[in-house]
């Protein structure tokens, strides 16, 4: 089954007529993803790669009432509004590709999603892929088969580029992925590590989980707590980026918006220790992830 997306995923793309979105929609279709409609206000009636475009989410759903997933590909100033619109019309899975969403807007999106019992992945998500079934967002680029093959490792990453690279390391070592997803590195994440780990824990196809974390925030520490409480029993291998920030003065913004260290909390060392103490395996250099994985699976 894997998590979040599969053969039955039917997608609406908000902002489909944009440069990146129209290119990625073609790549998604080539992978077999069913894109039923797009929404760009003012461009209703147009088509992108054969996908009909509407002015509003309401119209799109009227014409394609089996849409169950939304991919939000709009500029930062429009992201909150787009997500609120999708939530209002009952879409339960929204993957927000948009980067640089203001934190206040993210907090509003996430609050609205909680009230609607919907799941938001992102912001700053590179997408989600369940190999062999469905890909949403730019993850894997124009050649996802090079990196992704159906397997039993769940991959969850704060970094978009490292979702690919980490999955590639696994592929080269002979592993495949059950689902790989970019959850973004923002201060407020719709589906942070603890939530993603719980989804993988419940997924029969996933046998182990690989996490790519970064300095800033508390999501890795929260995941460690779940592992310690035995709410996650599958093996977890983690790499946490950002130790070099030790060489720099505090309160620097690196990597992603969430990568801010304030008063010593959120340090990569702290995260590594919390995860290791809880029983996860923690890689020192990124390319050592596969050696650790081989030990546990």
């Amino acid at each position: 089954m894997s998590i979040l997306i599969n053969k039955n995923t039917k997608v609406l793309i908000q902002g489909i007529t944009g440069r990146e979105a129209s290119k990625v929609s073609g790549e998604m279709q080539a992978y077999g993803t069913k894109i039923l409609a797009g929404v760009t206000p003012g461009k209703g009636g147009q088509e992108v790669n054969g996908v009909p475009v509407y002015d509003t989410v309401a119209e799109a759903l009227q014409n394609h009432n089996d849409i169950n997933t939304c991919l939000t590909y709009v500029p930062p100033f429009a992201a909150k509004d787009a997500v609120l619109e999708a939530l209002h019309y009952g879409i339960k899975l929204i993957d927000v590709i948009t980067e640089r969403v203001p934190v206040l807007d993210a907090s509003i999106m996430l609050a609205a999603a909680r009230k609607a019992h919907a799941t938001i992945v992102g912001p700053t998500s590179v997408g989600i892929i369940t190999p062999g079934e469905c890909k949403i967002g730019p993850i894997g680029g124009n050649n996802p088969d090079r990196i992704f093959k159906k397997g039993n490792i769940g991959v969850v990453s704060k970094s978009g580029s490292m979702t690919n690279e980490t999955s590639w390391l696994l592929r080269q070592a002979g592993f495949g992925q059950s689902t790989a997803l970019g959850i973004g590195g923002d201060v407020l994440a719709g589906l942070p590590f603890p939530d993603a780990l719980l989804l993988f824990e419940r997924d029969a196809e996933t046998k182990a989980i690989v996490m790519f974390g970064e300095l800033g925030g508390t999501y890795e520490e929260q995941a460690a707590e779940l592992i310690k409480q035995k709410k996650i029993t599958k093996p977890v291998v983690a790499f946490i980026a950002g130790r070099f920030a030790d060489y720099l003065p505090p309160s620097m913004q690196l990597g992603h918006a969430g990568a801010i260290i304030e008063g010593g909390t959120g340090s990569p060392q702290g995260k590594m220790k919390a995860l290791a103490d809880a029983g996860a395996m923690v890689a020192d250099a990124h390319h050592e992830i596969t050696e650790l994985l081989k030990e546990v699976i």
């Binding site: 930062p76 203001p102 206040l104 970094s159 978009g160 490292m162 690919n164 720099l248 690196l254």
Partner: protein, 400 residues
């Protein structure tokens, strides 16, 4: 963007929160009032660093200001001081609003015991520090603020007043897109007034597009809480007015290995790897989002302009949408002009990788570059060791 105290005070004043009377001075000679002389630096804990001085005469204030201005406090050169009327403090409270990553809500922290020792309080008497999550879709109405303030143990005659400050602070926090806004101490005077004697705030950089007035009000500040370097300022211009991809993020460091890394996570990962193998980065960067050739050309020129470089590492993962050929063309143009002698190690893959590698190979021949090309089959972080070793050899060779 971290704000200076005088800037965050300006903001709370706009929302009707009282601040001490004060004036900003950029030289000791200009000081024309006595009071509390406070160095305006971005770091906290200025009191302990001796950057806040009580004075009761204009002469003393002038002297204190002269001593502070131009000196370094907590790593930053002081350019301005705020000279404020001393507040006659009967009691001190603490109010802060920030985002809690567990609840994902803007969160009000409140204590009826404030002052500079709030971190100690959080450890020794956490019960005295009350936290309350605010629904960002509803905001903080007065009645809710009063409930929280009562819960925090404030005296009955203070409830309405303190709640009013909380309500105003939340409006300020949300309207200004702060990621944290703190009043510490919120001072209760003998007359019963509440005055924000100390304030601190950080504005969300990603919100600056909707705060055009802030761009004028608050001058740019560097990632390091120091003035940006010449190269950093040059790099910043690269992304201005051109929203195609990102190639203007550059932080100058002290090392000798030029880093041309892509992707936020990839760049962090590679910096970690470089340090693991004993290398010292000359800079940090993270380009991505498929920037055009011209941007990559400019970024390369900035990065390689730094003197003392012994190696260059162009590293990234398998790109999803950034075109390797388009970006490498820009890098190649700069390399063709600069003709560096130090070793260049490249590890990259993604759309246009074959063409991109061809561009680099041809250039290496044409110009005589010491080029080492690695594709997807070589794990990204393993090439850190390669560039560190090559840079060391180059440095040693040059010493002779």
């Amino acid at each position: 963007m971290k704000l200076y105290e005088f800037e965050s005070k300006q903001l709370v004043a706009k929302y009707g929160i009282k601040i001490p009377q004060g004036k900003l001075f950029d030289s000791g000679a200009a000081v024309d009032r006595a009071g509390v002389v406070k160095a305006q630096v971005l770091a906290g804990k200025r009191g302990k660093a001796g950057a806040i001085k009580m004075t009761s005469s204009v002469e003393d204030a002038k002297a204190a200001a002269s001593q502070l201005i131009g000196s370094k406090v907590l790593g930053e050169t002081v350019h301005r001081v705020l000279v404020e009327d001393k507040v006659d403090i009967a009691k001190e409270f603490f109010i802060s609003i920030t985002y809690d990553t567990r609840t994902k809500l803007p969160t009000l922290l409140l204590s009826s015991e404030g002052g500079i020792e709030i971190e100690e309080l959080a450890k020794t008497a956490p019960g005295k520090l009350v936290r309350f999550g605010i629904d960002p879709q509803e905001g903080l109405p007065g009645w809710k603020a009063r409930e929280i303030v009562k819960q925090a143990g404030f005296a009955p005659d203070l409830i309405a007043k303190v709640a009013d400050v909380c309500e105003r602070l939340y409006r300020c926090f949300a309207s200004c897109d702060a990621t944290i806004f703190e009043i510490n101490p919120l001072a209760l005077t003998a007359e019963g007034d509440l005055i924000a004697a100390g304030t601190a705030a950080i504005i969300d950089d990603d919100s600056m597009y909707r705060h055009k007035d802030f761009v004028a009000m608050f001058p740019p500040r560097s990632a390091f809480d120091r003035a940006p370097t010449k190269l950093e300022l040059e790099a910043k211009k690269i992304d201005e007015g051109d929203h195609r991809g990102i190639a203007g993020k550059y932080i100058e460091l002290d090392g000798d290995i030029a880093m041309m890394t892509s992707g936020g996570g990839g760049s962090l990962t590679n910096m970690d790897a470089l340090l693991k193998y004993g290398g010292k980065p000359a800079n940090y960067t993270e380009y991505g989002g498929n920037p055009p050739t011209e941007k990559m050309y400019k970024l390369t020129k900035v990065i390689l302009a730094k003197p003392g470089i012994n190696g260059c590492w162009i590293a990234g993962g398998i790109a999803s949408n950034t075109r390797v050929d388009v970006t490498f063309e820009g890098i190649a143009q700069a390399l063709r002009e600069m003709k560096p002698k130090f070793p260049i190690v490249i590890r990259r893959a993604g759309p246009g990788e074959k063409e991109g590698f061809e561009i680099m190979r041809k250039l290496a021949e044409e110009v005589g570059l010491d080029l080492h090309l690695y594709g997807a089959e070589t794990p990204m972080t393993s090439t850190a060791k390669i560039v560190v070793d090559l840079a060391k050899k180059y440095q040693e060779k040059n010493k002779k």
